[in-house]
Homo-oligomer: 146 residues x 2
DNA sequence: GCAATCTACCTTGATATCGAGATAATCGAG
DNA sequence: CTCGATTATCTCGATATCAAGGTAGATTGC
């Protein structure tokens, strides 16, 4: 029994992530939005109005993708673009009333579903998992940049 | 300090997976193939010739996506479709000589890179991480189906 | 033996994503 | 003040993915 190889850890990580992602998607797709759009709305709900660019960096979308995402959400009147008085290049995105209502509902459902999805793990296990994932995640991130 | 919430565990899992995925992609994109194509070739290398359908299930691609993937690989002469004598509906996919050469090289590089990517984790930590990921992954998978 | 059903694969149409390049506003050096 | 560099956003083309539907071979029930 040798140690876990890098490829094996990666495979397991990938599969687990896919499986949990399917749970997350199922939890919100009923509301007609995908994971990216959900992430954008959730960010606006908890962090308040933000610039397009900043949102894109936070949810790991490229500049092209975040524009498309905001377009989608704006078309459905879930968010609104406003101009920043201080920097005319910057467009500030904020939730509309219906957007707020939708994301509040979606987030509550999502949180409940995610709770069930990781319910197999006991509190101590969750802490361990988070610690290990952060450790390898941060390392991988720094490697990906450098 | 309450326990880790489901959404937080999911967020950390997602970020770690994305970060490691970027490493994996960087490791093989130099050879002109993406992660899906790599997974297909790697499967053929280690499991031998297989039917299109079976490959798709193994690498978690939909029927449309796996066809497109095999088309890509076939266009680059990395794999070849042959007919199965026993079931004419089934097309058996096998590596060509150059396909084998490519994936052997790619896999070696990939394995080395993944080893470095998880090098922050000590053997014991890797085991823990794999155990926890499998636990939550299997659970999430069964939930996604049911 | 043949009709109904199933299975494997492919095709098509709709989305989502990215990267590169375009545009416009801001900043900074001189 | 003005020119070049930087920053924020958008546009466009290419790629990847999925879901649904189509075709042809295989299987089952009668």
């Amino acid at each position: 029994m040798g140690q876990e190889s890098g490829t094996h850890v990666w495979l397991v990580l990938w599969k687990a992530s896919r499986a949990v992602e399917r749970n997350a998607l199922a939890s919100i797709s009923g509301l007609g939005i995908g994971l990216s759009d959900f992430a954008v709305l959730e960010l606006l709900l908890h962090k308040g109005p933000q610039s397009v660019n900043w949102i894109g960096r936070k949810v790991l979308l490229s500049s092209g993708s975040i524009t498309a995402a905001i377009d989608r959400l704006e078309a459905r009147k879930l968010v609104k673009r406003t101009t920043d008085a201080e920097d005319l290049r910057s467009r500030i995105v904020k939730l509309t009333g219906s957007g707020r209502k939708l994301i509040e509902r979606a987030f509550a459902k999502h949180a409940a579903d995610m709770e069930e999805t990781i319910a197999v793990l006991r509190p101590r296990e969750r802490e361990d998992l988070v610690r290990l994932l952060k450790k390898v995640g941060l390392w991988a991130e720094s490697r990906a940049e450098g």
